[in-house]
Symmetry: C2
Subunit: 348 residues, 2 copies
DNA sequence: GGGCGACATGTTAGCGATAACACTAACGCC
DNA sequence: GGCGTTAGTGTTATCGCTAACATGTCGCCC
C-alpha cells in the first residue's frame, strides 16, 4: 500500500546533501565542498551543484554540520533579568556582534533560584560556547557553575580578583565614573553625597560604591552608610521616602536610572524640588533619561559596546584566525543634565 | 602564554551514550531508554545506568538527539528591535513559557533591510519551529517570507485578514482600548484628540488608529490627520514641537509611552503645562510610566502574556498531546494617572 | 509441554553532514 | 617514456543519538 495515501499529512522530508548530489550528478562530498568552499572544485561542477541547490531549495542542516564536526557558530547567552536595561543592552550588543559574524544566538534566562545542574542541562552539547551576563548574583553563580568543557566569556560587574580570569571577562570601569559623579556633586556645594545602591553581584563591595566612597574620602567628607536598593523605580521610590525624611540629604547618587526615577518621584511627593532642593544622579543613561522631567544627570555606560566586545572575545577564542580584533568599548562618562544643581542654601 | 587557559574548552571528548553504556554494562540503546524514559527498563538496570551517568557527568548531546529524529524542543524567535518595549516584553514572555516547557530559545534580530533569503538561512534546520514578533514591517516581511516547511506562530500588531491565518497568530486587541482612551479624553471636555502614531506594520490602517478615529467619529468630533511618529522619545519630541504650536491642541494620544515622554518634554519646553494645558496618553504602560513627572495615563498592554500565548500556540502545534492549553492574556486596559485632566478653559 | 504474549534488552540502520583517505587524470620535468 | 605533483572527485568512517526490528526470557494457559 502506498504510504502516500494515508490521511495523515506526511512531512515531506526536505532536500539533503544527497539529493543535491543526485540531481547534480556528483558525490555528496563534492556538494559539501561547494557549500563550504574550502576545497577546490572545478567551475563547471560548482555551477551544476549550485544549480541543483537552487532547484531543490536546499539549505544545509546545521545540526548535522555541527555533529559531524563542522564549525559550530552558535552561542548561548546566560542572563538573568532582561527587563533590566543593562542586561538588555548588553544582550543587544552581543546579538549584533554575533549576527555580524554569522553566529546564531541562543538565550537562556536564569531565575534567581535556578539550580546549577539545571543551568548546565540547558546547554545543548559539550563544548558549547557561552556568554554570561553576570551583573547580579544569579549570573555570577551561573558563571561559576559552568563545567570546564564549555568555552565561556562574561560581561561582569566588577573585575575578577584572579588575574587568570581577566582574559575572558569584560566589564565597565565605572568606579572612576562614580567618583567623578560624586566629585561633581561636591563641587556644586553639597556637603556630602548619599548613595542608593543596586544589588551587588558578589559579596564584595561594588565598584560604584568604591568609587563613591573613595571620592568622599578624598574630599574629606563623611561617607554615609550606602543604602541598599533594588533595580526598579518602585524600589528607589521606597528607599527615598525614608531617606529624604532627613533634610540634610541634598544629593543622591543612584545605582541606576530607574532608581533615580523613583527617587525623583519621592522627592516630588515630599515637596522637595529637583534640582533646587535635591540633586539626583543616575547610572546607565537609558534612552528615556534625557526626556524626564527634570532630565536626568547620569553616567553613560556603553553596555552595547561591552556586549559586542564580550562576543568578540569569545569569537577570538573559537576562531583565532577568522575573528577580527576585539573592539573597544566607550569609557563611562558623566552626562550632566537638569537633575543636578547647586546645594540649597541652608534655610534660616 | 597563560592567556590560553580560560575559555577554550579542553578538547577532551566528553562522555557519549556509548561510554555510559560501557560503564553500566548495558547497550547504548538501553541508556537512550533511560534518558528518554519512554520505554520500560527494569529498576536495577535503570539504577546502574543512572549511576554511570552521574559518574561520567554525561549530558545528552541535543544536536545528535535532534538529528536522530528525537523531539526537538528548540525554537527560534525572529524579532526586529529588542530595544522597543513591546518586542522586548513579548520576547520575555516567550522565553519564560519556553523555558517552563523545557524548550530552548534562539533569537535572531531582523535588520530593517535584511533580505528574505538571509532570514531563511538563519534557521538551523528544515522543520525549524519559529516565532515571529511582527509589530513592524520588518517582522511582517519576515513572517511572509518563511518557507512552508517551518512551523511558525506570530505575535502581530493587527489581526490578519485571512481567517485561515488566525489560528497561529496572536495579537492585542488594542483598537477598543484606543477608543476607550479617546472617549475618556473627550469626556474630560477636550474638543478633539490628536493622535501621534507609531510606525505601522503594514500598509493597512493600524488598530489603534482605527479605534481612535472611530471614537471621534462616534462622538461626532472632527478627526485630525493622524501624525506619523517613530518609536523613540526623540521622535515624539520632534513631532510635538510642531504639533503643539497649534494652541487648539489640548489632548494627544500617543502610540507608545516613549512618544508620550517626548511629547511631555516638548510641552514643558513650550510652556504648556501637563495636564493643565495639555493631556497626554500613552500606550504600553512601561514600568517607568507610573513614576514619570507627571505620571503617565496609558493603556496597559500585556505583551508578556501575549508572548507566552504565542509560545503556547506553537507548543500545541509541535506536541499536541503534551502541551498545556494556551493561556489567556490580559485585555488592554486604560490606566488613568496624572498626565490627563480637564480641557483648559478657552482663554479670554 | 508447547505456544503465546509481555517485558527487557541487544542489534542494525539511519539522521545529514564533515574528515580522512583513495583514486584518477592532466601536467611538467628529465 | 617514466615518474612525481597536483587538482578534482569519489568512498568510507564517524559524530551521538533514536527508531525499528530482532532476540531472549519469563510466566501463563490450554
Amino acid at each position: 500500500m502506498p504510504a502516500d495515501e494515508a490521511p495523515v499529512a506526511r512531512r515531506r522530508r526536505s532536500a539533503s546533501i544527497w539529493d543535491v548530489a543526485r540531481v547534480a550528478g556528483v558525490s555528496h562530498q563534492t556538494v559539501s565542498r561547494v557549500i563550504n568552499g574550502r576545497a577546490r572544485v572545478s567551475d563547471t561542477t560548482r555551477a551544476k551543484v549550485l544549480h541543483a541547490i537552487a532547484e531543490l531549495g536546499y539549505r544545509p542542516n546545521r545540526l548535522a554540520q555541527a555533529l559531524a564536526g563542522g564549525p559550530v557558530r552558535s552561542v548561548t547567552v546566560l542572563t538573568s533579568d532582561t527587563a533590566l536595561y543593562g542586561a538588555a543592552a548588553t544582550l543587544r550588543g552581543m546579538e549584533e556582534a554575533a549576527r555580524a559574524a554569522g553566529f546564531s544566538l541562543g538565550v537562556s534566562v536564569l531565575e534567581p533560584d535556578s539550580a546549577v545542574p539545571d543551568v548546565v542541562a540547558r546547554l545543548s552539547r559539550p563544548g558549547e560556547a557561552v556568554m554570561v551576563i553576570a551583573y547580579d548574583s544569579a549570573g555570577v553563580r551561573a558563571l561559576r557553575a559552568l563545567p570546564p568543557d564549555v568555552a565561556v566569556t562574561a560581561a561582569v560587574e566588577r573585575p575578577p580578583e584572579a588575574t587568570g580570569d581577566r582574559g575572558w571577562q569584560v566589564w565597565l570601569d565605572d568606579r572612576d565614573a562614580a567618583g567623578q559623579a560624586t566629585r561633581y556633586l561636591l563641587s556644586l556645594g553639597h556637603r556630602t553625597v548619599h548613595y542608593l545602591a543596586i544589588p551587588s553581584s558578589t559579596s564584595a563591595v561594588a565598584q560604584r560604591t568604591r568609587g563613591w566612597a573613595d571620592a568622599l574620602d578624598g574630599a574629606g567628607r563623611p561617607a554615609p552608610e550606602p543604602l541598599q536598593g533594588g533595580w526598579t523605580p518602585r524600589s528607589g521610590y521606597l528607599a527615598a521616602r525614608a531617606l529624604l525624611a532627613d533634610p540634610s540629604v541634598t544629593a543622591v547618587l543612584c545605582g541606576n536610572d530607574d532608581l533615580a526615577l523613583g527617587v525623583m518621584r519621592a522627592a516630588r511627593e515630599l515637596g522637595r524640588h529637583v534640582p533646587g532642593d535635591l540633586s539626583v544622579v543616575g547610572f546607565d543613561d537609558t534612552p528615556a533619561s534625557a526626556y524626564l522631567n527634570p532630565s536626568l544627570t547620569t553616567v553613560r555606560l556603553d553596555f552595547e559596546g561591552l556586549g559586542r566586545a564580550c562576543f568578540g572575545l569569545l569569537h577570538k577564542h573559537l576562531e583565532p584566525d577568522a575573528a577580527p580584533p576585539v573592539a573597544e568599548w566607550a569609557e563611562p562618562a558623566l552626562i550632566v543634565r537638569e537633575s543636578t544643581g547647586p546645594a540649597p542654601r541652608p534655610s534660616g
